[in-house]
């Protein structure tokens, strides 16, 4: 059996070598499909890693509560896409924040509510700018560095805002002398008390682009917009040992608060790094689907070329059967050839995908993520493609009548 396998392997090699150009083009088809999958997975992995690293930086004592959509995810994402405000129907509210802050072992609780609105300053007007509503605990949980001024404090809770660095530049063309100036949102005036240091992490677990955001107290935010939707609550536990216990207590408290509804998720540790937005998941899923389609096209290429190969080698099949090859032997021979073609393509695609990922990563803030799971997935996928698209030509070869096949001359 082992000898037969080796023979098949060698025969596949001979056949692929004989038809070099054809085999190369077929492999290329598979390679492009695999490369796009690898590219997407490694970049998505890179993004997840970025968030994971950020969570690690903030500390392992972080607990995050996120709302669950009561509807199925696709509908909610479409809703999210079509509405101007993300988490239009968040299940979290300000009273939840208060409930959590009463739990023992919780050091700080900060809600994160996002709104978008027009901002006017004396110099420029910016449409649709991200406004983050939170509370004073926010800075205790996430140590954002201040470039100038200070974060919101008890003295200036109301009517004060902190600007992101890029936003400050956009509004006043400066970052140093914006303190004390005012901006106007929905007719309300707010005084700038601080400007953040550059964060340069547009992707993070808060789903907030701090460089381009206005930070204000959540109570002020609720005054200028009709409904404040809390997309996330960040919690700092007293110490890491009680993380599990505290998160359970938060869970219980929220269930009680919501009269039994479990429409939220409490996560800590690695779970947090799962990208905050389901939009992200859907987009990556769709991209992978598109890549999978190109892989299917590559697979059809393999099938096509194998059918040609079977037709061309009718005579050989006849000879082999005449000297004692069973249909199964012939099946294995051609299936092997298809497998080798697609695995070669997969290998090629893996390399190509990573090269592309590295090229792309030079202009993005994250490094591509290389893992054994992606390599294993690629291998299994190409194996499956080889079998799925190789089985029909192989069956066709195996079912050939030896007498008719022998009549085919080269």
């Amino acid at each position: 059996m082992a000898s037969l396998l080796r023979t098949n392997l060698r025969l596949a090699r001979i056949s692929i070598k004989e038809n070099r150009t054809r085999s190369f083009l077929t492999c290329l088809g598979i390679a492009i499909g695999v490369a796009s999958i690898v590219l997407i997975l490694s970049l998505m992995g890179g993004i997840s890693n970025l968030v994971k690293n950020e969570v690690n930086e903030i500390g392992s004592d972080l607990i995050v509560v996120r709302p669950n959509s009561s509807k199925d995810s696709v509908t909610s994402v479409i809703e999210e896409l079509t509405s101007s405000n993300s988490f239009q129907n968040s299940s979290l509210n300000v009273s939840d924040v208060e409930a959590i802050s009463k739990i023992e072992g919780v050091n700080a609780v900060a809600p994160i509510a996002i709104s978008r609105n027009m901002i006017n300053s004396e110099k420029n007007n910016l449409p649709s700018t991200q406004i983050l509503g939170t509370n004073l605990d926010f800075i205790k949980i996430e140590p954002l560095a201040m470039h100038y001024g200070s974060f919101l404090s008890e003295n200036n809770e109301e009517k004060s805002v902190v600007l992101g660095r890029t936003l400050s530049l956009a509004l006043f063309n400066t970052i140093n002398s914006t303190i004390g100036k005012t901006i106007e949102i929905m007719g309300e005036k707010f005084m700038i008390v601080g400007v953040l240091e550059e964060v340069d992490k547009s992707i993070n677990f808060d789903n907030v682009d701090f460089d381009n955001a206005v930070i204000m107290d959540i109570k002020s935010l609720s005054k200028i917009t009709d409904s404040v939707q809390i997309q996330q609550i960040n919690i700092k536990a007293a110490n890491t040992d009680v993380l599990g216990q505290v998160s359970n207590e938060i869970s219980d408290a929220l269930v009680k608060q919501k009269l039994g509804d479990r429409n939220f998720t409490v996560s800590y540790g690695d779970q947090i790094s799962h990208p905050a937005s389901s939009l992200f998941t859907i987009i990556s899923g769709m991209l992978t689907l598109v890549a999978a389609i190109s892989l299917v096209v590559g697979g059809i290429g393999v099938m096509n070329i194998m059918l040609v190969s079977v037709a061309e080698r009718s005579h050989e099949i006849g000879v082999r059967k005449a000297v004692g090859a069973s249909s199964r032997n012939i099946l294995m021979q051609f299936l092997f050839e298809a497998l080798i073609l697609s695995i070669l393509g997969g290998l090629f695609g893996l390399i190509l995908g990573y090269i592309l990922a590295f090229i792309i990563s030079t202009i993005t803030p994250f490094a591509p993520y290389i893992s054994w799971s992606i390599i294993a997935l690629t291998f299994l996928t190409t194996l499956a493609v080889g079998i799925i698209f190789g089985i029909y030509p192989a069956l066709k070869a195996a079912s050939k009548n030896p007498i008719d096949s022998l009549k085919h001359y080269r």
């Binding site: 059996m1 000898s3 037969l4 080796r6 023979t7 001979i14 056949s15 004989e18 005579h315 050989e316 006849g318 000879v319 082999r320 059967k321 005449a322 000297v323 004692g324 090859a325 069973s326 249909s327 199964r328 032997n329 030896p402 007498i403 022998l406 001359y409 080269r410």
Partner: protein, 251 residues
């Protein structure tokens, strides 16, 4: 008396339906003993090749009985057919039917690939057979680099490498000049003298001198059947030789 190697009873092969029905073989009866060298002659379309294909388990009869070594093989699975082809039957064709992409030695070793020989044993056996045909220097030539006569000798080597019980030859000299034909026939004669059973289809009456039995076919039936050598004088296989070759087998 030893039982017949091949026993055909009422063998019929038909093609088509109704008015267009055509019989390639019609109630064909034939017994073949070990060690016979049978030449089958007859006009084109008389069913010679069909008969050879059925004996060689490449084709199935429409009805009738075919006993090979006493075993009825008419309705066995195609997998078992393939196994029997690999172990008991060697084919020689008019157009050699070598695989163009494989070197001579691997063409010869082909039947061994499907009978569980190790790679080394395959090549060893093929090499020793090629030596016998004085082709040892051309082991790694590709078929197109050989003359027709050499190619046919390679094909004969392939037919006997697995030590089959029956060698079936379909006009083996049909594509060869007279000199190559003679060499090929001498080889077949030598193989026969070692006790092998050969069934050969030919159009050339001059070749019947090599045969121990000549069968003339007409319209799917036997027309004449002449034995030139008495049954008890047929060469019988030397068991030692078989054992020696089987030794190389793994397991």
């Amino acid at each position: 008396m030893e039982e017949n190697l091949i026993e055909l009873k009422g063998l019929t092969k038909s093609y088509g339906y109704g008015d267009a029905k055509y019989f390639a073989l019609k109630d064909f009866d034939l017994s073949i003993k070990r060690g016979e060298f049978i030449m089958i002659m007859g006009p084109s379309g008389c069913g010679k090749t069909t008969l050879l294909n059925i004996i060689g388990l490449l084709d199935r009869a429409t009805r009738g009985e075919y006993l090979l070594n006493g075993e009825n093989v008419i309705s066995i699975s195609s997998r078992r057919q393939a196994k029997l082809r690999a172990k008991k039957i060697g084919f020689i064709f008019q157009n050699f039917n070598l695989i163009e992409d494989l070197p001579v030695i691997e063409n010869v070793a082909l039947p061994l690939v499907y009978t569980g020989y190790s790679k080394t044993a395959q090549l060893k056996n093929a090499s020793s057979i090629l030596k016998r045909f004085h082709l040892q220097e051309r082991e790694y030539y590709l078929p197109y680099q050989l003359s027709g006569g050499q190619q046919q000798r390679v094909a004969i080597a392939r037919a006997i490498v697995g030590d089959p019980e029956i060698i079936l030859a379909d006009e083996p000299t049909g594509n060869l000049d007279s000199r190559s034909s003679r060499i090929v026939m001498e080889e077949l004669k030598a193989i026969h003298e070692e006790g092998n059973t050969i069934i050969m289809v030919t159009h050339n009456p001059a070749l019947t001198v090599y045969a121990t039995r000549v069968i003339n076919m007409l319209d799917g039936q036997i027309d004449t059947d002449v034995k030139t050598v008495a049954d008890q004088n047929l060469p019988q296989p030397v068991n030692v030789k078989i054992k020696k070759r089987k030794k190389a087998r793994r397991k």
